[in-house]
Amino acid sequence: MTPALSVEKIVKEYRAGRHAVRALDGVSLALLAGEIVGLVGANGAGKTTLLSVAAGRLAATSGTIGVPGAAPGSAGSRRVVGFAPDGAVFPPTLTVREVLDYYARLHVSGPRRAALVARALEIGGLAEVADRRAAALSRGFSQRLSLAQAAIGARRVLLLDESLSGLDPVARRAVCDRLAALAASGVAILLSSHDLAAVERLAQRVIVLHRGRIVREGPTTALLGERVLELVLDGPADRVPPGFRVTPFGVETDLGQGTVEAALALARAHRLAVRASRVRLRSLEDVVLDALEDGAR
């Protein structure tokens, strides 16, 4: 299957005074049609730089960006790849509807434009603020307008930078539903977010970026499939058994191929005063923190 967007060995270097800072260090990924991929990592990991390069907003130092049927950086590729930056700035004095109409004019002309604007308003859930000045919008609505302009026209790839931040729970759920609907219609979405719960729910695949490199990548179900045994202790552990981690309430361990009984026996052998135990699946937060620790080593 041909990827909707392919990123090959992207390197991006900035000059910071006399030093060159490598924001991206040989990043490669492919986005398939209809797929939502979560891009996670700590602040400064290179997520925004990667999205900006993929959107053609920043030039890469080396590497290639591929969009089927369009030259990299061409108007053709911008016709199919949409970018919703975090904290987007829109042309001042225009209303939300006029902002979308302004961008729609860059895609189509004539009566089809009105349909594009209506569809973008629907994707962003912006009907109630359509006639309000864009500059006066709250952060949540501004993020939704950013998403709406990214999805305008015949965009087959969406690059979303923190599009879920600043949204109240109801709006976030609505935006997640719209993103899922867009993906179901064949749009490929690369979503950068610190909202790991939303990424866990939305993304079929997760990429963990650390200091400009991909340190973990895989299907969400595979990454989250591992079991964790949590032990609540009556007091602090004097000796932590090998493979266990200290938590605020006691200790925990990844079970891997082992059994709960074997792990509990190991805990008893180390004289841990176990009050309660439970088995849970790993959260995306666990996966990301582990990946970042591995990447830092």
Binding site: A55, G56, R57, A75, G76, R78, R79, V81, G82, F83, P85, A88, V89, F90, P91, P92, T93, L94, E98, Y102, Y103, R105, L106, H107, V108, S109, A135, Q149, A150, I152, G153
Partner: protein, 228 residues
């Protein structure tokens, strides 16, 4: 390279600014002030009035439609859509010139009614004023996309205060010193009232100068946007 619909999208932004920002008020004040000065002048000078009002209005229009921090910050997002830096620059320039034509026409018409120069002279003056506005708008566009509205402020004051003097006049008034020499160079190179006043009379050098500024300024502005 150039898309007609993209140029039109940029051009349309000027209308919203004219109505919803203070641009309309400033242009009305400019037109009224210059028309008043023109009507009181000892010798009617519709060509000078058209060039001055066109150029000053064009710089104001660029400052309000392209030079603000928000306008400049919005450019990178626009460039993630199917447009080009040249379309963007051309559209904004066209919008600024269209807006600048309004106070220019108002001022020359008011003076024409008061001092009754011939309709042909008024027509020539307005054509020259439009070319002068185009050159000033292109110059201002390149300046604001390099350094923000400080560039537009400088250009506005330069056109209003200094640019009526020719380089020869500066040499006559201040024959020595680095500052007058810099002013001479500026008056020779930048769009200036002393040069564009003769556009209406058909001066080939003035038309060439304005034409070069229009093409060069738009190209420079487009290049600057492409580097953002």
């Amino acid at each position: 390279m150039l898309s007609r619909s993209a140029v039109a999208a940029e051009w349309r932004l000027a209308r919203a600014r004219l109505i919803r920002s203070r641009l309309g008020l400033w242009l009305a004040l400019l037109a009224a002030g210059l028309a008043e000065l023109g009507a009181r002048a000892a010798v009617p000078d519709p060509a000078g009035l058209a060039a001055r009002s066109g150029m000053m209005a064009a710089v104001l229009a660029v400052a309000f439609t392209a030079g603000s921090d928000a306008d400049r910050a919005a450019l990178p997002l626009t460039l993630t859509h199917p447009t080009t830096p040249l379309s963007l620059a051309l559209g904004r320039w066209l919008g600024a010139v269209t807006v600048a034509a309004l106070p220019m026409l108002a001022a020359t018409t008011a003076v024409g009614i008061a001092r009754s120069p011939s309709p042909l002279a008024l027509l020539a003056a307005n054509a020259g004023g439009l070319a002068a506005a185009g050159a000033a708008a292109a110059c201002a566009l390149a300046l604001v996309w390099v350094g923000g509205n400080a560039g537009a402020g400088f250009l506005f004051l330069y056109i209003g205060v200094l640019s009526g003097l020719s380089p020869v006049g500066v040499r006559y008034l201040a024959p020595h010193g680095a500052l007058p020499r810099a002013a001479e160079w500026m008056l020779a190179l930048l769009p200036a009232l002393w040069r564009y006043r003769v556009l209406a009379a058909g001066s080939a050098v003035a038309w060439l100068h304005a034409g070069l500024w229009i093409t060069g300024g738009i190209a420079l502005a487009a290049w600057r946007v492409s580097r953002r």
